[in-house]
């Protein structure tokens, strides 16, 4: 196994129980800074539940989560985002009736905190900050070739562009770690190839680490340095892509008992 960079995100024996159901149990994830890590497994394996725990939507019932050495489990979603984790959602959750530009500006809101009075009186500080916000939003949209869509209503975008907009929105909060929940779902092969390339760019240009859930194995194998495999809430394997590809237990989990 090759050297991995310093840890950014670490989960230790992470687990959650809903009533009698142990949805996730004893999961040990590690994302190094600058890494792209995959989280795969059959449907219902608990991948999205892990995301929900990492981002504070659910509170874990056992184990811990830390970001850059600081415990974040039990914190509110807002707090966790402010500490540097942003995400996309499996069932796209854009601000549907707002424009594309506004979706991004909302995510940028903390980078222009000018206060109510300033906005009511339209003081110079407000104008400056708004101009800056707009510029930054357009820059980010440009990375994903969405500038031409700025004034469109988000819910009117084609599916693939909605997924991209969700990534832009997450990126706008200036995260250290980006969680992508099935970013290629519903995309055609051409769009998927484009996305693969974009994820590579995100890491290079924005220095962001990525943890992604994905069913498209060609994408996962191409861009992930390290892969974790979940099945029935438990971690059944981890390692480099080639090792995972040949792991008997993983093949069994995906194909079922033959």
């Amino acid at each position: 196994m090759s050297e991995r960079s310093a840890s950014l995100l670490v989960t230790d024996s992470l687990g959650i129980q809903f009533g009698g159901l142990r949805a996730v149990d004893g999961v040990q994830l590690r994302v190094g800074s600058g890494e792209v890590v995959g989280l795969i497994g059959p449907n219902g394996a608990g991948k999205t539940t892990c995301f929900n725990m990492i981002t504070g939507v659910y509170k874990p019932t056992s184990g811990s989560i830390s970001l850059g050495g600081e415990r974040i489990d039990g914190m509110a979603t807002t707090e966790i985002n402010r500490r540097g984790i942003a995400r996309t959602f499996q069932n796209i959750r854009l601000f549907r009736s707002m424009t594309v530009l506004d979706n991004v500006r909302v995510a940028l809101h903390r980078q222009a905190d000018y206060g109510i009075f300033s906005s009511v009186l339209r003081l110079p500080s407000y104008r400056r900050a708004e101009a800056q916000l707009r510029k930054r939003a357009l820059e980010l949209l440009d990375v994903f070739s969405l500038v031409g869509r700025s004034n469109d209503i988000a819910s009117g975008l084609p599916y693939g562009e909605q997924r991209k907009l969700e990534i832009v929105r997450a990126l706008a909060t200036n995260p250290k770690l980006l969680l992508l929940d099935e970013p290629a779902a519903g995309m055609n092969p051409q769009e998927t190839a484009q996305l693969t390339e974009l994820i590579g760019r995100l890491r290079r240009e924005f220095g962001v680490s990525i943890l992604l859930i994905e069913h498209d194995m060609s994408l996962v194998m191409k861009i992930c340095e390290h892969i974790y495999v979940l099945d029935y809430g438990k971690e059944i394997a981890q390692g480099e892509p080639t090792a995972i590809q040949n792991n008997q237990q993983v093949i069994k989990a995906y194909l079922g008992e033959a």
Binding site: F18, T48, V57, Y58, F89
Partner: protein, 294 residues
């Protein structure tokens, strides 16, 4: 001490009526997650229709008038759901709630136009008199006894319907998971209508009892309706036993407040309880918490 016991008895008597109204709130909420704002008006309609039957058809036995009132309230609720709530089922919750508020005010004002704005005496009344317990220094009025007994009968009836009949089983299934119930072949629209019918007919029965004890007017459903709603929340919305316990508790608390402090603050106290429950334990005494799907 005897004073306290007396307030307690009065509270339980009123509270049993609140409980019956609260059952309707809680059943409807359990199935369609709607606070049926117009529920108190179904009670008012029951009172007016009971009075109408007794006035127009001289010699109708009270029990028959009660049953007609229950039937009529139930039907009004079914029609309300069909016309005003069902079309909005897939809309944001705010719209259904707005529709419910609108129906509530509309029914109040229609009743005001049809029956007049001022309070009128109900054509029948409870037998006068009471049973005194001299050693304790308290008494129970016949009217309170009748209200209590009738409430118990209705509650047992509801319990039998919900737990011992096929349609009751379908109701329980629908309140667990509407979509799953539909896939299991349950006609959930029928179940929703039936739930509204049952809930409103209980409210209609309370309308008659309330009318007999006090009087009948277009706004008579407002205060008991709100008290019963608070009772349903206190007991844990969606829970039938919770609604009954909550109803009795609210009745008792109101009477203690009125007895020891002042009756002017009765509804203010009721709402204070609501705000407290919601901020301390929103799931109520017997309610279950739900997990949001992401």
């Amino acid at each position: 001490m005897s004073e306290f016991l007396q307030f307690l008895i009065n509270g339980v008597a009123v509270g049993s009526m609140y409980a019956l109204i609260a059952l309707g709130y809680t059943m409807v909420y359990g199935i369609v997650s709607l606070i049926n704002f117009a529920h108190g008006e179904f009670m008012m309609m029951g009172a007016f229709i009971g009075a109408l039957v007794l006035n127009r058809l001289q010699g109708t036995p009270l029990v028959v008038a009660l049953l007609i009132a229950m039937l009529a309230s139930g039907l009004i609720a079914v029609v309300t759901e069909l016309v005003a709530y069902r079309p909005l089922r897939n809309q944001p919750k705010i719209f259904v709630l707005t529709a419910a508020i609108a129906v509530s005010v509309l029914l109040q004002n229609v009743a005001r136009l049809v029956f007049g704005a001022s309070a009128v005496a109900f054509p029948a009344s409870f037998p006068e008199g009471s049973i005194a317990f001299d050693s304790l220094g308290i008494w129970i009025e016949y009217s309170q006894l009748i209200v209590l007994c009738l409430s118990l009968v209705l509650m047992v009836g509801l319990w039998l319907v919900v737990n011992k009949t096929k349609i009751g089983m379908a109701m329980r299934a629908t309140s667990q998971d509407l979509e799953a119930a539909r896939l299991m072949g349950i006609d959930t629209n029928v179940i929703i209508s039936f739930t509204f019918f049952v809930g409103a007919s209980l409210a209609g029965a309370v309308g008659v009892l309330y009318g007999m004890q006090y009087s009948v007017d277009p706004l008579m459903g407002v205060q008991p309706g709100l008290a019963a709603f608070v009772a349903a929340v206190l007991g844990g919305i969606g829970s039938l036993p919770g609604a009954m316990i909550g109803g009795v508790l609210i009745g008792v608390i109101e009477n203690l407040v009125a007895g020891y402090l002042s009756s002017t603050y009765q509804s203010a106290i009721t709402f204070l309880i609501l705000i407290l429950v919601l901020s301390v334990k929103p799931s109520g005494l017997l309610g279950r918490m739900t997990v949001v799907k992401v």
